[in-house]
């Protein structure tokens, strides 16, 4: 899969790179972060978009105003988000479930509010900061291909790290907390340490994703792009993709981001086949939402454990039929 991702710019057009692949893997990374705290550690968080905003603004301020090199700025974006994430995560020690959701929901509003209000951010009355041209060690990252590789390298490294992390001692501790936190803590898993660590890692991923939005995708940090509905969408990504699955985070991101576009384009093509003008444009535009909603329902009923489960099911079916893909045995990714 990695080989495919690396080869993509040679095969696909600029449209696919800039409009499809880059946003999908950026949001996939953010969804992976949320999956760590929600899917693995079992703590619902509704502030993922706000953490992305924190990362985006920290990175663009660091790079644009203070000239911090881009890789460090990305790291800094993640770090700032992670530190705030730990603070936001503290209520998780006392409350869980819906109550925790409301507490993290508050963080979404407070962070966005602060980014608009604190004059130091310089976001001003536009609540937006643009980045200077992205350069790393003298190399210009202005072409879509260069941006894509920048995003891909960061996302691939962090995915690898995340994948190993959830299979480590820490990951097992998180899952123990998810299943029954009191039982886990009696057996010696420190609630304080691991719950806060989950929030730390999760918001770090969001922060990095946010800074990638700036450097790799839109070129600007803008408060409007991180409203509550984005947090809900990211939550939707991991639910549809599969809670507690690394691959599912990316599949879910692709589903939520790309399917509406696919439906819209497909319907436009079909409508054009009939000569155009037979179906009003308003019906076409609204039908997209109906079809998308129906597909979400279909997939959740068909496979409540998410797309990742479907994917592995498909892989093992192919495996049984052909005897190839031995590597997927034992769960794989």
């Amino acid at each position: 899969m990695l080989a495919m991702a690396v080869a993509a710019p040679f095969v696909l057009s600029e449209y696919w790179i800039k409009a499809i692949l880059i946003p999908t893997i950026i949001f996939g990374l953010s969804a992976l972060g949320l999956n760590i705290v929600s899917g693995y550690a079992g703590l619902i968080s509704m502030g993922q978009a706000a953490f992305m905003a924190l990362g985006a603004f920290s990175a663009v301020i660091a790079y644009g105003r203070f000239g911090v090199p881009v890789p460090l700025a990305i790291l800094l974006g993640g770090t700032v988000a992670a530190l705030v994430g730990v603070v936001v995560g503290t209520p998780s020690l006392r409350i869980k479930g819906l109550y925790l959701m409301v507490a993290t929901l508050a963080s979404q509003f407070i962070i966005i509010w602060a980014l608009q209000r604190v004059p130091w951010t310089g976001s001003g009355s536009f609540a937006t900061l643009n980045t200077p041209p992205v350069r790393i060690a003298g190399f210009d990252f202005s072409t879509p291909t260069a941006k894509y590789y920048l995003v891909l390298v960061v996302v691939a490294l962090m995915t690898l790290f995340g994948w190993n992390l959830v299979r480590s001692r820490i990951g097992r501790a998180w899952m123990a907390l998810r299943e029954h936190d009191i039982a886990a803590s009696i057996m010696g898993v420190s609630m304080l340490r691991y719950k806060l660590l989950a929030f730390l890692v999760s918001s770090f991923y969001a922060g990095v994703a946010g800074s990638l939005v700036v450097f790799g995708w839109t070129g600007a940090a803008s408060v409007q792009e991180y409203e509550l509905d984005v947090s809900i969408k990211i939550l939707g990504m991991i639910i549809i993709g599969g809670l507690g699955s690394v691959l599912g985070s990316f599949l879910g991101a692709a589903f939520i981001l790309l399917l509406p576009i696919l439906i819209a384009v497909a319907m436009q093509r079909v409508a054009a086949l009939t000569g155009g003008g037979t179906v009003s444009v308003d019906i076409l535009a609204n039908a997209e939402h109906v079809v998308f909603g129906a597909l979400i329902l279909f997939f959740l009923i068909r496979e409540p454990q998410g797309l990742a489960k479907l994917w592995f099911g498909l892989a093992s079916w192919v495996d049984r039929r052909t005897g190839t893909f031995k590597a997927t045995k034992g769960g794989g990714k």
Binding site: K18, A19, S222, Q224, E225, S280
Partner: protein, 436 residues
């Protein structure tokens, strides 16, 4: 691309209605060629109400131009890309039609911010009438962005000037209290610096009531404004469905309806209509004439709609949102025409941008276009991308708007100073040298 004539409301009910296609008349007119003009549209979601009117107004104007032989013999054909007023979808639309754009008009301030970098690199002008970045009036710092008419800062100063007029002079504003109720985003927050400076200059007091999107719950704010703060005037900066909310709240708390002044984005029938007679006497700003009493609108009715080629329900023709669409259409066609004349076919984004900078809509030209009184005079240049315009104020009589003021100009010096300051900050943040 041929468009069906019917705009079908029944779609909302999920009725699979099939609109009757406009008769595919054999095209007697011969065109020299076609100009493909992709359009970003919002037909779904909370902002669709006004946005569909703006889209239809543009398309009807293009149809009218095509029926008269096109732009110098070139036919305008358009394709729609639905983006739901959402930023990621707007970026996707932009990439889908990349290289085909002549001028980008998303009718969404957040989308303009996100598109800014790309359009500048690809040399396509992105416009947002009476919106977008206020400082993009500075065409040198923002060579591919334009607010076209009445940027937010001009709007804010003009609205305060109107209040001054009601009071009988700007000096009478001293000691007055103005409540500012607004969406808490880059649209609602842009007037802040202007209010601050005006308050200092004229000695009035103002306070912000920020509402987070979609701002459908406003009762606490209005109680506060009417009973505790006891504002002399309330100015609203809302959008879409939230525009209709204040009227019930104002009636409930007994605040005088004529002291509430909405921004021009709350000035369409779709915004105030739901409140109907309840909103009687309320005032909103506007940047253009209302109604059908303009030659160009009448011509559209007589030619386009008679031939069954209209893109809106006939009843929407002449509504505020619709007229905005026609104005947008006039500006875009004018830019294309100038671009064709100066640089020749085939058109691309840069040629249309150059054409935009040559726009000179003076009294004579507006008369030719049949748009006298519909829109203000507009003259653009390389340095000036529009935005320093006056506003009209209109009163709601329960069923329709009537214009009740003359053109009220903005505080030019103050707005210009802010544009310069903000453009400078932008250049420093992005370290971009002023483009030549």
């Amino acid at each position: 691309m041929k468009k069906a004539g019917m705009w079908c409301k029944a779609a909302w009910a999920g009725v699979a209605a099939v609109a009757v296609a406009a008769p595919f008349a054999v095209n007697a007119q011969q065109y020299k060629g076609e100009i493909l003009h992709p359009m970003m549209v919002t037909r779904t979601g909370p902002f669709a109400t006004a946005s569909t009117g703006v889209t239809a107004g543009q398309q009807d104007y293009y149809t009218l131009v095509n029926m008269a032989g096109g732009i110098d013999g070139y036919k305008i054909v358009w394709e729609e890309c639905e983006f739901e007023y959402k930023v990621p979808r707007a970026l996707e639309c932009y990439e889908r039609y990349k290289g085909k754009w002549k001028m980008v008009y998303p009718n969404s301030t957040p989308a303009i911010f996100a598109l800014a970098e790309r359009v500048t690199k690809d040399e396509v002008l992105a416009i947002n009438l009476a919106g977008g970045r206020s400082d993009s009036s500075d065409g040198e710092t923002f060579p591919y962005l334009a607010p076209v008419i009445a940027n937010f800062w001009a709007q804010a100063t003009s609205t305060i000037a109107y209040i001054g007029q009601l009071e009988g002079g700007m000096d009478k504003l001293k000691g007055k209290k103005i409540a500012y109720i607004h969406l808490d985003n880059d649209y609602g927050r842009q007037p802040f610096p202007m209010f601050d400076e005006l308050a200092k200059k004229y000695g009035f007091e103002w306070k912000s009531w920020a509402l987070s999107w979609p701002a459908l719950e406003q009762s606490a704010a209005w109680v506060d404004i009417a009973r505790r703060y006891r504002a002399d005037y309330a100015v609203g900066w809302l959008y879409g469905q939230s525009c209709a909310v204040p009227y019930t709240e104002i009636a409930k708390v007994g605040y005088p309806m004529n002291k509430y002044i909405g921004s021009l984005w709350c000035g369409t029938e779709d915004d105030v209509g739901p409140a109907g007679p309840l909103a009687k006497d309320t005032v909103t700003a506007n940047f253009h004439g209302v109604g059908k009493d303009f030659p160009v609108i009448k011509e559209i009715e007589a030619k386009v709609y008679k031939a069954g080629k209209g893109n809106a329900e006939p009843a929407r023709v002449g509504s505020v949102a619709y007229n905005r669409g026609v104005i947008t259409g006039i500006i875009i066609v004018e830019a294309m025409r100038n671009g064709l004349k100066a640089k020749g076919a085939p058109l691309d984004g840069k040629k249309v941008r150059d054409g935009y900078r040559m726009i000179k809509l003076d009294d004579a030209r507006l008369k030719q276009l049949g748009a006298t009184g519909l829109m203000p005079n507009l003259v653009f240049s390389e340095k000036y991308h529009g935005g320093m315009d006056s506003q009209l104020f209109q009163k709601w009589d329960g069923t329709k708007f009537t214009t009740i003021s003359k053109w009220i100009p903005p505080d030019q010096a103050m707005v210009q100073a802010k544009i310069d300051e903000s453009a400078k900050a932008f250049r420093e943040q992005t370290k971009a040298a002023p483009a030549k």
